[in-house]
Symmetry: C2
Subunit: 191 residues, 2 copies
DNA sequence: ACTCTAGGGGAACGATCGTTCTCAGGGCTA
DNA sequence: TAGCCCTGAGAACGATCGTTCCCCTAGAGT
């Protein structure tokens, strides 16, 4: 087992354990056991727990947005509703526990600036993705609609976790469509 | 200093410290020092930290909803926009760090069932409050609009904390108005 | 004035955490 | 085969946590 393989196994274990139970609730030794590596290897790959946390969040950011982008690319006719269709699938996955970045921010955002930075970067990137979808539409205020879609995405992720109701994605989906329709120049002109 | 006074001082310190830095990051001794009471008193009032946490969340739930309800009652002409006006004021307060319940849920929701229960109760109560406002309107699907307003509330609270932008309340406010208008029976009939 | 008791300050305890250190073993080269 | 270095397993360390215990003082009641 070389360093690269250990890194992958460690991040796999970190993702599973940190997301399920929170960051501070998972100890280094549990991480080591979950990854099936030795403590020496672990500290060789990441010299401190905080770096494991940030690497976990960064990898999850990339994978999460890639999955979303892939789903949306597969539904080019209705990209914005597709976002919320994909969210609904995500909400219904076993072990869904809300947005890992929101959770991490609530737990450590005020204590560990590095974590707060990763969380802000993730949400900025998600917002940029949504901005790309909005740019395809002819809306009077793209920034406004982008932020509103982002609010629905964040709200439904968090709300679905707390209420335990994946159907909130459908509520958000219809809200998004309604807002998008109201924002289109075509619509406001025709009225 | 009697027990009741110690309880109040303790919850005041708990609210300030837990909200600012997270629950696990604040130790019992820091809580004791912040409240200005002795360790003996502290354990006389609450026999365990977990009970302090739940009492803190319960008191915050009541106070937060009372402040919101009072503000909305003072603006009877536009109750739903008033919700988001009040949110904007809250977001702009120094030390705003998002929804205490969302943060606590992310930190300990999967580990401490008692905390998860308080968080769910808070959000259910907020939803009920919004449902009362929606009930004043003549909408075709009150449940749908209630959930959508709730998503905007949760999303803007969390989003404003992460993005550090109180103006997201305005985005949410206009989204809420747009959704409410689109949902009214009057509007759908006139089209 | 003497006793009794409640309360404050803070040491002590046991558990757990992140991190470092020790040591034995096993594959490599000479 | 002998020496060497890297690794794995896990003990050890120092810090910190929640909680309990001890000791001393101060004030009320007789």
């Amino acid at each position: 087992m070389d360093v690269d393989e250990a890194r992958v196994k460690l991040l796999d274990a970190a993702e599973e354990l940190f997301y399920e139970r929170g960051i501070q609730a998972v100890g280094i030794d549990e991480l080591r056991a979950g990854a099936g590596i030795s403590l020496k290897r672990l500290y060789q790959v990441f010299p401190a727990k905080q770096q494991i946390v940030e690497a976990y969040l960064r990898r999850r950011d990339g994978r999460w947005r890639a999955r979303l982008a892939e789903y949306v690319a597969d539904h080019p006719d209705d990209p914005i509703p597709a976002v919320f269709d994909w969210l609904r699938e995500w909400f219904a996955e076993p072990g869904f526990r809300g947005c890992a970045f929101v959770n991490s921010f609530g737990e450590l955002g005020s204590t560990e600036p590095g974590i707060a930075d990763v969380v802000r970067a993730h949400h900025a990137a998600v917002r940029e993705f949504l901005a790309g979808l909005v740019a395809e539409l002819d809306v009077t205020d793209p920034e406004e609609l982008t932020d509103q879609l982002w609010l629905l995405l964040v709200g439904s992720s968090t709300g679905a976790a707390i209420a335990g109701d994946p159907a909130l994605a459908d509520r958000a989906r219809r809200a998004a469509q309604s807002l998008a329709k109201a924002a289109t120049r075509e619509n406001s002109v025709s009225l």
